[in-house]
């Protein structure tokens, strides 16, 4: 499918394509209600509640006023719908602003001001400097004589450098005001922002009527900015939501956290329980009806009922028990989750002053998963390192520079060579200065700054400038170089661009003075060295590469070749043809480039340093102590990767660390290597060695294709892995493998090549770094620096998990509590399905009285941030799901049963005989529930801020105030009831009795466990609150830096010296466990339920 865009021809393309109205909104005013309702009802829980609410409309079976379900249901729907609507309205406003922006359009040679939304496909849009591009345009004219213009594409791909765009050669020299006949043949809209394979044909009267190929270089895309160019104009080809940007806006698939899944499971369990209760009570009710109720003349049971008579009582109980599943849980969770996300956004400590970026939670729904991360897969460049490249060393013609000083720019030998004009060095510097796509920008003060797409190129150009080879100006295709004060000019004939497959880039330049044509190349060693001139020895260069890689430096080989005029001309034709092909353009271009890039004369190796970011080793140490496994996935060389891994504590040096290499070029080699590593891994797993495996992209490809099962096993055995030279899709595959074993994965990266991995992982974290915002946009969380990951996981993730675990179980507790009372009551009301509580109370109970206090649990902190940071091991409780699993839930279930018994028994005995009045007693039972739940929240709260007090005790006061108000209404069933009760001393003594009887055992149990069966959280709480010991524990913990040197936790000999009994309270490495007990000891006793079950399910899956 293709689209034909007729330039400036209103009649032909008027209605074929949409106008330029951007719409990011999900709804319109008309479809908002139905669409939103449809979306909400696609959730199972909502369907359930709707069914219940509909059943309640049948007066025969409804125990209470239908409003008691409809009210909360409508309230909850209204809250969700309002939130959605508000978000959508904001999107609408920003769309509107963009749509109503005034832009210039050239029509019949006359410039007109119109609103951006009125641009049609085929219109010519005229832009001034610093204007935002309103839609995707094919450039047809600029102020520049060569037809160049510069655009900033940061809004599109996050890259902050300026990109050059050029008008198609067919339009060259034509006044755009005259340009009004022509057709652009272009593909249908897609989202590939790097590709635009189209053709342009101008109609007569223009002389050049040939097909002119168009590439992405001829376009300026929506949301870019025009820079350094006075004006530019272009033909609109894609408009509105069909632009490249518009097409790439997708709705990301909602991620479901492990906690959510657990809540769903528990909901399912409760649902089954509810069905069982309903069936039992339904049968009991029917039996009682037939044996007893027919004798009770005052209820006038007819002898013959309708056909559905048997169903009536079970359905009544279904309605009565429907509150077992808390209707408010979804809304409560949504509310607190957005608060967690806000806390991340607001966090001052995760603000990166250097780049001015704050942490941002784009996905508000998955904070709990952060606390359950088990694997972190990290990119290297820009994530662990600063991605701030500095030229450090070089090897030119076999001579090493910078080895003594550590900085080649300060190496006198090199400086001498530059001054004396050694030909090798000069050629080397020329390649450094010319072989790039850097744009020099001269500021008013005369200093030159460079705008570069790649950090490496910028580093090289800068270094060359320091070595007196200054890249001064780029004027269209003419590059000006100032070498030792003499100016030289080169004309760029062709640029053979860098792609990750080719791993090199070249330029063909013509020396303006001598007319010589030269091919300048730079690239990875394995891409350059094999193409060397057969006569040249490359050994010294590969040694240099190895040496530099050992030091953790990035290496680039620089090479050149002088081209013959004929050779170039011949090649140039093929190249042009390849460049204008519509199919497989990239592949064909690469093939053509290959033809030119051979027979190089290798000039030397440049080594560039990429410094580690601040705090990376500490962060990795802390997170590894928290039991998180680290994998490093990088496109870099093995040696460089290893070096970085060592310096950031990812792997330990010999002897405590051991690296297992998996390599090989063929299937067999890889297989053997894999088996060997696996064997070593199994045997060493019991030893306190820090074993990591290293694999490169090639072996990985084979392993993934043929030995996936073995590789998966290895992956799960190993706490650390380094994968080098991997492609973006391999990164994503690795994430997928770990994820499919039901481990929680977090992928962190900063560049476009990490996007797939970030999207694949359970949690994607993007670093808004120098490589642009692509990763940060795709990610669920974006942070400014790698070191913030520590805080993100240990503080935000952990708190979120803890809070949600409490909130969700509490929601079930309070619903079960009131439901159990209803069930008990049904046994003394002839199993007839009478509701003890009135409609108002039931409605307010779930949505109001019990929801507000628990919302402030979103502020609860069990341990201070500092303690958690010092004892990251504590994260284990979250990872293993210790706080929310079937057994903790059983505890809450038991608690609600116990409390229901307490409330029910005390109520019916205290209000027996003459005081046995329906309304009064239901209020007594209800206030009992409210009191108990207030104390339950208070007991489970670890830190009381003002807000907690306000919510818990204020809610209690609110309960009375609301009921007093309702009690003043004569028409309500409970008229005057609450006033009567509050005047009775026995009411207050009953409340006291309920609280004492209900909370006493709970408190005693909690205290007992806290003191004599304390979890590590409890121990740290005691330590933290009673003072002192934090220092003690803090001191035992080795400083992260010194860990590597002192090797406290990892030395092999250590266990011999120390008996296990001497371990510090919280030993600082998780590895110690293996050492202390050996691997064979079964510790299933300690294993949490979930861990057991999950490992079990994993096993099942694999079989």
């Amino acid at each position: 499918m293709k689209r034909y865009v007729y330039i400036n021809d209103d009649e032909l393309s008027q209605d074929l394509y949409c106008d330029n109205r951007i719409s990011n909104t999900k709804y319109t005013i008309l479809n908002f209600l139905p669409k939103n309702l449809w979306e909400q009802f696609s959730r199972f829980m909502n369907q359930y509640f709707l069914l219940i609410a509909c059943l309640q409309l049948w007066p025969l079976i409804t125990p209470v006023n239908p409003a008691s379900t409809w009210g909360p249901l409508i309230f909850i729907f209204a809250v969700s719908a309002t939130k959605e609507g508000w978000d959508d309205y904001n999107r609408y406003l920003s769309d509107k602003k963009a749509n109503e922006k005034e832009v210039w359009v050239v029509k019949q040679g006359i410039k007109k001001h119109i609103q951006a939304q009125d641009i049609r496909v085929g219109n010519i849009v005229w832009l001034r400097e610093n204007d935002e591009v309103p839609c995707d345009l094919v450039l047809v004219g600029t102020s520049d004589l060569q037809g160049l213009c510069y655009v900033e594409t940061s809004a599109l791909d996050g890259e902050t450098d300026l990109k050059t765009r050029v008008i198609p050669h067919a339009c060259m020299g034509i006044d755009f005001e005259l340009l009004h006949k022509g057709v652009i043949e272009c593909p249908n809209p897609d989202k590939d922002i790097r590709r635009f394979d189209a053709n342009l044909r101008l109609f007569p009267p223009f002389i050049d009527n040939d097909l002119c190929p168009l590439t992405i270089k001829n376009t300026i895309l929506q949301s870019c900015y025009l820079r350094n160019t006075e004006w530019a104009c272009g033909v609109a080809v894609y408009t509105g939501n069909e632009t490249k940007l518009g097409m790439s806006r997708g709705v990301p698939e909602p991620k479901l956290t492990a906690v959510d899944m657990m809540i769903d499971k528990l909901t399912g369990a409760i649902f089954i329980f509810q069905i069982v209760v309903v069936i039992v009570l339904g049968i009991a009710g029917n039996v009682w009806k037939d044996t007893e109720a027919r004798k009770q003349w005052y209820v006038q049971y007819p002898n013959e009922g309708p056909w559905y008579e048997l169903l009536v009582i079970p359905l009544r109980f279904e309605l009565l028990c429907s509150i077992m599943i808390p209707i408010s849980i979804k809304v409560s969770l949504d509310l607190v989750k957005s608060l967690y996300a806000k806390f991340i956004d607001w966090d001052c400590e995760m603000f990166d002053i250097e780049t001015g970026t704050r942490a941002n939670a784009a996905n508000t729904a998955i904070s709990e998963d952060l606390g359950q991360v088990e694997y972190i897969l990290t990119d290297k460049t820009g994530t662990l390192t600063e991605n701030k490249m500095v030229f450090k060393r070089c090897c030119i013609g076999g001579i090493f520079y910078g080895n003594e000083t550590g900085d080649a720019l300060k190496d006198l030998e090199l400086l001498d060579a530059v001054v004396s004009g050694s030909p090798d060095v000069v050629r080397f510097l020329t390649v450094m200065a010319l072989c790039n796509t850097v744009i020099p920008i001269r500021s008013k003060s005369g200093s030159i700054s460079y705008k570069a797409q790649s950090q490496d190129e910028e580093a090289l150009v800068r270094a060359a400038a320091c070595l007196h080879m200054i890249f001064v100006n780029k004027n269209a295709n003419i590059l000006e170089i100032n070498y030792n004060g003499t100016m030289a000019q080169y004309e760029v004939l062709d640029t053979l661009e860098f792609t990750s497959d080719r791993k090199r880039m070249s330029v063909v330049v013509k020396d303006c003075k001598s007319g010589k044509i030269i091919l300048l190349s730079k690239g990875a060693d394995e891409a350059i060295l094999p193409c060397a001139n057969p006569g040249q020895q490359t050994r010294s260069f590969s040694e240099a590469v190895d040496q530099y890689a050992q030091l953790g430096l990035r290496t680039l080989c620089l090479a050149w070749r002088v081209l013959e005029e004929d050779e170039y001309q011949e090649w140039s034709l093929i190249f042009k043809e390849a460049n204008s092909s519509l199919v497989d353009r990239e592949w064909r271009v690469a093939e053509v480039c290959q033809r030119l890039e051979h027979g190089f004369e290798i000039l030397g190796v440049a080594a560039i340093e990429d410094r580690l970011q601040d705090g990376v080793p500490e962060t990795i140490t802390t997170l590894r102590k928290a039991g998180i496994n680290f994998w490093m996935l990088t496109g870099d060389k093995q040696n460089t990767a290893l070096q970085i891994a060592l310096s950031c504590n990812l792997v330990s040096p010999e002897p405590k660390g051991q690296l297992l290499l998996i390599n090989g070029k063929t299937d067999d080699e890889v297989c053997r290597s894999l088996e060997r590593v696996l064997l070593t891994m199994r045997t060493t797993n019991s030893e306190p060695k820090d074993v990591a495996f290293v694999i490169d992209g090639w072996a990985l490809e084979i392993a993934l294709r043929h030995y996936r099962k073995t590789f998966t096993e290895l992956a799960l055995l190993s706490r650390t892995a380094i994968c080098c030279r991997v492609t973006p899709s391999q990164k994503a595959q690795l994430v997928y493998i770990i994820k499919s074993c039901e481990y929680k994965t977090l992928a962190i990266g900063d560049g476009g090549n990490d996007v797939r991995m970030i999207q694949q992982a359970d949690i994607g974290v993007g670093i808004s770094g120098r490589e642009g915002l692509q990763a940060a946009r795709a990610a669920d969380y974006s942070i400014g620096k790698f070191r913030f990951l520590k805080r993100l996981i240990l503080v935000h993730g952990r708190y979120s998990y803890n809070r949600t675990a409490f909130l969700s179980q509490y929601s079930f507790y309070k619903s079960l509590l009131i439901c159990f009372i209803q069930i008990f009551f049904s046994f003394i009301s002839g199993v007839s399905g009478t509701s003890l509580f009135n409609s108002v109370s039931l409605m307010a109970y779930n949505t109001f009285y019990t929801s507000i206090p628990v919302l402030v649990s979103a502020l609860d902190k069990d341990l201070s941030e500092r303690t958690v940071m010092q004892h990251p091991q504590i994260l284990f409780y979250c990872q293993a799901g210790r706080l929310l699993n079937p057994s903790t839930f059983a505890g809450w279930f038991g608690r609600s049963l116990f409390h229901a018994i307490v409330v029910f028994l005390i109520t019916i005995h205290a209000y027996a005989y003459e005081r046995s009045e329906m309304e009064e007693m239901s209020m007594v039972a209800l206030s009992g529930c409210i009191w108990l739940q207030a104390f339950v929240v208070a007991l489970e709260t670890n830190s009381f801020t003002v807000l907690q007090h306000l919510a818990i005790w204020g809610n209690l006061a609110g309960f009375y105030i609301i009921n007093w108000i309702v009690s003043t209404l004569p028409s309500s069933g409970m008229h005057t009831i609450m006033f009567r009760l509050c005047r009775q001393p026995s009411y207050w003594t009953t409340m006291f009795l309920m609280v004492a009887a209900g909370m006493g055992p709970v408190l005693a149990l909690k205290y007992f466990r806290y003191t004599y069966r304390s979890s590590k959280i409890n121990i740290l709480q005691q330590a933290e609150r009673l003072g002192g010991p934090i220092l003690t524990l803090g001191n035992i913990e080795p400083q992260p830096r010194s860990l590597e040197k002192e090797a406290t936790p990892l030395l092999l000999i250590q266990p011999k010296n120390r008996s296990p009994v001497h371990e510090p309270l919280l030993s600082d490495s998780p590895n110690t466990t293996r050492r202390s007990f050996g691997s064979g000891t079964p510790f299933d006793f300690f294993q949490s339920q979930s861990r057991l079950s999950s490992s079990y399910s994993r096993n099942c899956k694999d079989n």
């Binding site: 004798k295 091991q873 005390i906 027996a912 001393p985 408190l1003 003191t1011 004599y1012 005691q1022 035992i1036």
Partner: protein
């Protein structure tokens, strides 16, 4: 350049999130923990509060003088009392003499007001069909006379809507009692037995009974000349009871009854509880601040108080004989190198006699490895499980 740089820095800073204690989650917080002191004190204080209240309740309950007299069996003439069917036919017949005389003695002096209740057992006023069969609107005002939809049964007949409609009103209790002592009638005050709020707001002064009990007769009939707001028996009856065994106020005796005073009650035994085997009792009772006779509350308080007290004692003993673990941390050695070694602890213990040696020992023996065991070993274990499976 410099100016631009500092501008940039300012810009960077301006993006920084605003600091507030709330957004940084640093609100000052009270972080209580369960120290033995606090918990034991709490339990002791619960006991200290509960036990006196329990005793007071029991005392109050003891002071209530209550006479309970079951009369449903006794008031059936012996010729009818052989089986249930006979009893039912006796009670349903309009010709039988239902008058029944019972005598009892006042055990203790009863001070006025003495409340007269009738107690029904096994009567489900809380049954779903029963409890909802009423129309509050109709009861409230004359205009709503025909709003009978809520009643479902006994709602209307050929003559129009029944006022008051519904099963509750229809089944109104209709036994009557007349008290006398030594042939002197004891006056029973039947005014003011209903809640004031009910007579004022719930039952209209302009609503008169209509069509009531005109079909199948359930319970008592109402005088059609008295408005509902003054039909206190009905109002009391319509405050439905939540338990199947309940008492309802019949009237009050406004004079004291002396101990050993002989009371004669003339009962009109009209109400049919025989069909479902319900009991009928006549109750005379005085009242105190906790209401009528109710030992349960007092006993419950005593139980809770006693339990709290014993928990406090148990925890105290535990605390004395098995010291708390957290004391370890309190007296932990801050020396980073040797503090946690056994030797270090011994030395410290020698230096500080009576320190926390025992607790440290306990900690080491019981606790040290739990975390790691729980933590990463289980991880390792689950993985080795996986491994085996992969091999098979």
């Amino acid at each position: 350049m410099n100016a631009a740089g500092s501008d940039g820095a300012d810009k960077m800073h301006s993006k920084k999130p605003k600091y507030s204690m709330f957004t940084q989650q640093e609100l000052p917080a009270f972080k209580p923990i369960l120290t033995p002191g606090r918990v034991i004190t709490l339990f002791v204080s619960i006991a200290v509060i509960c036990i006196p209240i329990g005793l007071a309740c029991l005392y109050a309950s003891e002071n209530v003088v209550e006479i309970v007299d079951r009369y449903d069996k006794d008031c059936i003439p012996s010729s009818y009392s052989t089986n249930t069917d006979d009893m039912i036919s006796y009670i349903q017949s309009s010709t039988t003499n239902k008058t029944c005389i019972k005598k009892f003695t006042v055990p203790k002096k009863m001070k006025h007001p003495i409340y007269i209740y009738y107690q029904l057992d096994n009567f489900y006023q809380n049954h779903r069909r029963f409890v909802q069969s009423r129309s509050d609107n109709q009861l409230r005002s004359k205009e709503n006379e025909d709003k009978v939809t809520g009643c479902l049964l006994e709602a209307s007949n050929s003559d129009g809507p029944i006022v008051p409609c519904g099963l509750i009103a229809w089944s109104l209790f209709n036994d009557t009692y007349a008290f006398s002592s030594n042939n002197v009638t004891i006056q029973v005050n039947k005014k003011g037995i209903a809640w004031e709020s009910d007579t004022q707001f719930k039952f209209g002064y302009d609503v008169y009974p209509k069509n009531f009990q005109s079909g199948v007769i359930g319970g008592a009939k109402l005088d059609e000349k008295i408005p509902l707001s003054e039909q206190e028996d009905l109002i009391v009856w319509m405050r439905t009871a939540v338990l199947p065994s309940f008492r309802k106020l019949y009237g009050k005796i406004e004079e004291d009854l002396d101990a050993n005073q002989k009371i004669t009650v003339v009962i009109q035994n009209n109400y049919n509880t025989y069909s479902f085997g319900g009991d009928k009792k006549l109750v005379l009772s005085t009242t105190t601040w906790i209401g009528g006779k109710n030992d349960y509350i007092g006993l419950a308080f005593l139980t809770v108080g006693g339990l709290s007290f014993s928990l406090a004692i148990i925890f105290n003993l535990l605390y004395l004989f098995r010291p708390r673990l957290s004391r370890v941390q309190l007296c932990g050695n801050s020396d980073p190198d040797g503090g946690w070694e056994r030797g270090g602890v011994f030395e410290q213990a020698e230096v500080e006699p009576g320190g926390c040696l025992d607790s440290i020992e306990l900690l080491f023996q019981k606790q040290t490895f739990e975390f790691d065991d729980l933590g990463l070993l289980s991880l390792g274990f689950s993985r080795s499980g996986q491994q085996q499976n992969l091999l098979t």
